[in-house]
Symmetry: C2
Subunit: 206 residues, 2 copies
DNA sequence: GTAAGATTGTGAATTATTTAACAATATTTT
DNA sequence: AAAATATTGTTAAATAATTCACAATCTTAC
């Protein structure tokens, strides 16, 4: 099992590699990838070492091959199904982000309380009522939920997701939630990230 | 200067502390804070040690005082002004997240290319055309920009922000950008975060 | 008022992550 | 074809982050 940071970086590298491909660039040096991602060439080589890929030396990494190898590590064979829970601004933003991205992650359902959204296709995804969470997760083999609901419903929604057998949750609400060990949880708080920037903006100056 | 992770955690603790305050809870133990944030009591104590606060021992930390002390570390005296660049779904989501939050960060302007948005107040923030970036950042003393524009304009918009003298940028687009050393940059990629979850969901099982 | 118990604060140990250093090797130059 | 150069892969060193372990201290129970 790779370190969390390494997984993140691999995912990011892959995005850049696809861009290289689009530009017709067939090989890339470790220091080029590093520069694109604000880290060092050694770090890049180390990450790539982790996944056991070897370039033909001195020509840089073969872009196509590297994409392939990263895919072998990151992706599941048949892809994973994803649901967006909460089709507000953030839910829709995320969903449109995904559209057109080469990805083995398929957003196949959205859930919302808003009656006017239900049964409609929003940002390319069909929207279901919250009480369908349970059966849809089971029947559609949804393994990951992206939670973009209002803060005050986060805990309750999490419980529903866990009860339905979800395997991973990305929590974008501003409240931390609790899940059993076997569910992978990641929490990201936009306010925190801005407060962090504010701190460094403030303290670098002084 | 505190470690980045510590700053993040402090911001998160503070959020929980405000919630305690609302519930009338006046003191909190390190292990309680830890549980809320999926980390250990030692970690919490270490973080709090970093900022030089001491509880009256054995009663837990005084919630109000701790909020105060974290604020002294994280916040700037007079607060910082923030702009959202790109008032799409994500921009609006973020802006509404901030509204009503006790914060020294004031989102005071939004920028967008869309003519129909310009000069209107959206999610509580006035929206300006992109060509106002330069003068607004200067005249309104905006130090932080949250970039939520389409990927293909990210690099160009970053250049504008930097030229205008921005101090910190949160990049929510899917392409990495380049800034000079004195500008603090944080990049967060939602697709990466979901790919990471997918990896761990996949590999924990096997 | 003494003993037992709970909690903090922190030096030391551990673990994780990053960086340095350099041998190995392929390519280009002369 | 030998020398110079550039790049990778990897061991070892350094740095950073977390956890352990425990003294100090306050509170409660008896």
């Amino acid at each position: 099992m790779l370190p969390e940071r390494t997984v993140e970086r691999l995912s990011e590298y892959r995005r850049s590699l696809y861009q290289c491909l689009d530009k017709g660039k067939t090989h890339i040096y470790s220091h080029e990838l590093a520069e694109l991602h604000h880290n060092t060439a050694v770090q890049v080589r180390r990450d790539i070492m982790f996944i056991g890929y070897s370039s033909m030396q001195r020509k840089g990494y073969d872009v196509q091959e590297l994409i392939q190898v990263i895919g072998d590590i990151l992706d599941s064979e048949r892809g994973l199904n994803v649901a967006v829970v909460g089709m507000g601004n953030l839910g829709r933003a995320l969903t449109t982000y995904f559209i057109g991205k080469r990805s083995r992650l398929n957003i196949i359902a959205a859930f919302d309380v808003d009656q006017t959204k239900i049964d409609r296709v929003i940002s390319g995804v069909k929207c279901y009522p919250m009480n369908r969470i349970k059966d849809m997760i089971a029947s559609e083999r949804i393994s990951i939920a992206i939670m973009t609901v209002p803060a005050d419903t986060a805990v309750e929604v999490t419980e529903q997701l866990v009860a339905a057998g979800i395997k991973g949750i990305q929590n974008y609400t501003t409240v931390p939630v609790e899940v059993p060990d076997e569910v992978f949880l990641d929490e990201y708080d936009m306010i925190t990230s801005i407060e962090k920037i504010a701190y460094f903006v403030k303290t670098v100056k002084s």
